[in-house]
């Protein structure tokens, strides 16, 4: 049995160019987490796709999946964070399209993606603090997108963000009825995927690195970029 057979909570398609993961369960449970993990394994190990799209809607953690007498397991949260970090570091361009509201974990997932967009009328929300727990490493990621003040309001008050505000804050790039693969491909081409991935890493590290260290990192990344056969071929044209 292949690792992507018998998926129940997500759908996975991969045409060797673009891989799409659809969230078909409205709430995140242990099974959905492990199914996304299995797909990320395939994306890391064997998929030839250079663009990965996550799409769907999510209402966050499914508490019905947990026995209230036992409570939630901290290691489950750790697994979730490790999964998001792997998605954030995939050597492929990642996109997230919100077909409906993204709440809690769904919004956290969107924040890890390179390209973010949503249908009109969609809302984003981190209600965790209002429920008495924490929105994971959105506490780390959100301020990088929107600045400390907005991040504080969105996380502590759990305010819902509509698409207009989301575009204005840079949480999403655009609002559209549906994803257009050709349009995505116009900006994110297979031959530039490595440069995009390297640039993403430098950007992610930019807040925490001294300029001199960042310059060392840039040169290491730049050497890798300019040594690619795709880049050298392009120069010859």
């Amino acid at each position: 049995m292949s690792r992507t057979d018998a998926l129940e909570t997500i759908r996975y398609e991969d045409d060797g160019d673009i891989a799409t993961i659809r969230l078909v369960r409205p709430r995140i449970n242990v099974r959905q987490l492990s199914e996304i993990e299995r797909v990320v394994d395939v994306l890391e190990d064997s998929s030839k796709a250079s663009l990965v799209i996550f799409r769907g809607a999510s209402e966050g953690i499914d508490f019905a999946d947990f026995d209230p007498k036992v409570g939630l397991d901290i290691h489950g949260f750790n697994k979730w964070e490790k999964l998001l970090r792997r998605i954030e570091q995939l050597e492929k361009v990642t996109a997230c399209f919100a077909e409906g509201d993204l709440t809690g974990g769904g919004f956290q997932l969107l924040l890890t993606c390179d390209v973010r967009s949503a249908r009109p009328g969609v809302h984003f929300r981190l209600p965790e603090v209002q429920m008495g727990f924490l929105p994971g490493m959105a506490t780390w990621r959100l301020a990088r997108y929107v600045g400390f003040g907005h991040a504080r309001r969105l996380i502590l008050r759990g305010d819902a963000v509509g698409t207009d505000e989301a575009v204005r804050l840079g949480l999403i790039d655009e609002v559209r009825e549906d994803l257009d693969h050709a349009d995505l491909r116009a900006h994110y081409r297979p031959e530039t995927a490595l440069a995009a991935v390297l640039a993403r890493r430098l950007l992610l590290e930019s807040g925490e690195t001294q300029f001199e260290d960042a310059l060392g990192n840039l040169l290491a990344a730049q050497f890798r970029a300019i040594s690619q056969s795709a880049f050298l071929e392009n120069l010859k044209r």
Partner: protein, 354 residues
């Protein structure tokens, strides 16, 4: 029945007593050239342990090749035994218990070799077998570990000891060129000893690393990139480091790592710990960006570089010691050791704690 597999039982390190900051060196040898000064102060090295000569009347150090060779020998016989003692005392063994001795050095040429000198100095048994690896450079610790584990596997229950001893202060030319300044700003003196024995696993005590396999990668196109030249004017050996080699090494790093992982049916995400040679900031950056490692993954590589400089063949064992001291390693974790050096070459080893 459990198969006896070679394990790293103990590790010990030693350095010369004198610790110098990069700024101290510039002052001591009156280095004024701003380019050379910035090379020393921006190299991500804070301190090094060195056997330093006094400055001459002109401010420069003046040691002949003969004096340097002598320094290599007495320096090695000072810190080498200290590293061996530090290693063996952890497992309540003495040099009389060692059955096979491997010594590694690139910073001096000796006959008889360091193994014979160390055995005489420390009183090893006269039937201890031995081998010297000389001149292989910074990567040589893993070339030596390959032999040590092969010997240990062929002789279960017997003790193999590998000792990397590098007196980098015995190899320098001081002529105010960038070529020599790069070398003079980078390397430090240090020795590391590791005890290897193949024995059935026991679940007592702290996790110990088993060595599962090795993968090497030679880059023949870069054979000139790191090399010794004889400098006729100085009358000394002069080490040369190509300025692009860090990036070339980084670009090639995925090859041996990929082979090593594939041989054992593993993926990069299964590797919990990376023990990478502290070759210099550039090569560590290049490895990070080609293997997708984080600063956290190479934290000990950075801290060893910061505190000791590049210790050549023993560097990765200093990182390994810091990793073990940290207490985060768990039974079942996989690790990859990686060293780089002249050839140009990349050597890798897969280890697993049990």
């Amino acid at each position: 029945m459990l198969v006896a597999s070679p394990r790293l039982l103990a590790i010990g390190t030693a350095n010369p007593p004198e610790v110098v900051r990069q700024e101290d060196l510039l002052a001591r040898f009156r280095v004024d050239d701003p380019k050379i000064r910035s090379l020393f102060t921006s190299s991500h090295i804070r301190t090094r342990h060195l056997y330093l000569p006094e400055a001459g009347p002109d401010g420069a150090p003046h040691e002949t090749q003969g004096q340097l060779l002598a320094k290599h020998k007495w320096g090695a016989l000072q810190i080498g035994p200290q590293a061996v003692e530090a290693c063996l005392s952890q497992v309540q063994l003495t040099v009389r218990d060692i059955d096979h001795l491997i010594c590694i050095t690139t910073t001096g040429f000796l006959a008889p070799g360091l193994t014979a000198l160390l055995m005489k100095e420390m009183g090893f048994r006269e039937d201890c077998s031995r081998a010297d690896i000389v001149g292989m450079g910074c990567n040589a610790g893993l070339n030596g570990l390959n032999l040590a584990t092969a010997w240990a596997s062929a002789n279960p229950g017997k003790n193999a000891l590998m000792v990397c001893i590098e007196i980098c202060s015995a190899v320098y030319v001081f002529d105010n060129t960038m070529r020599t300044a790069i070398v003079n700003s980078l390397f430090g003196d240090g020795a590391a000893a590791v005890l290897v024995r193949a024995s059935a696993l026991d679940e007592q005590g702290p996790p110990l690393a088993r060595v599962l396999g090795f993968s090497s990668h030679l880059i023949p196109q870069a054979s000139d990139a790191m090399r010794f030249d004889w400098d006729d004017d100085a009358g000394k050996l002069s080490f040369f480091l190509d300025r692009d080699i860090p990036y070339v090494v980084g670009a090639n790093a995925p090859k041996p790592v990929g082979r090593l992982l594939a041989q054992h049916g593993l993926k990069k995400r299964h590797i919990a710990h990376w023990i990478v040679h502290s070759g210099g900031r550039k090569v560590v950056d290049a490895i990070k960006y080609n293997l997708g490692l984080s600063d956290y993954d190479v934290r000990h590589t950075h801290s060893v570089l910061r505190d000791f400089g590049n210790l050549s063949s023993g560097s990765f064992l200093f990182s390994y010691k810091r990793l073990m001291a940290e207490g985060k390693v768990r039974r079942g974790d996989f690790g990859i050791m990686m060293t780089m050096g002249p050839g140009s070459t990349i050597e890798t080893a897969l280890i697993r704690w049990s």
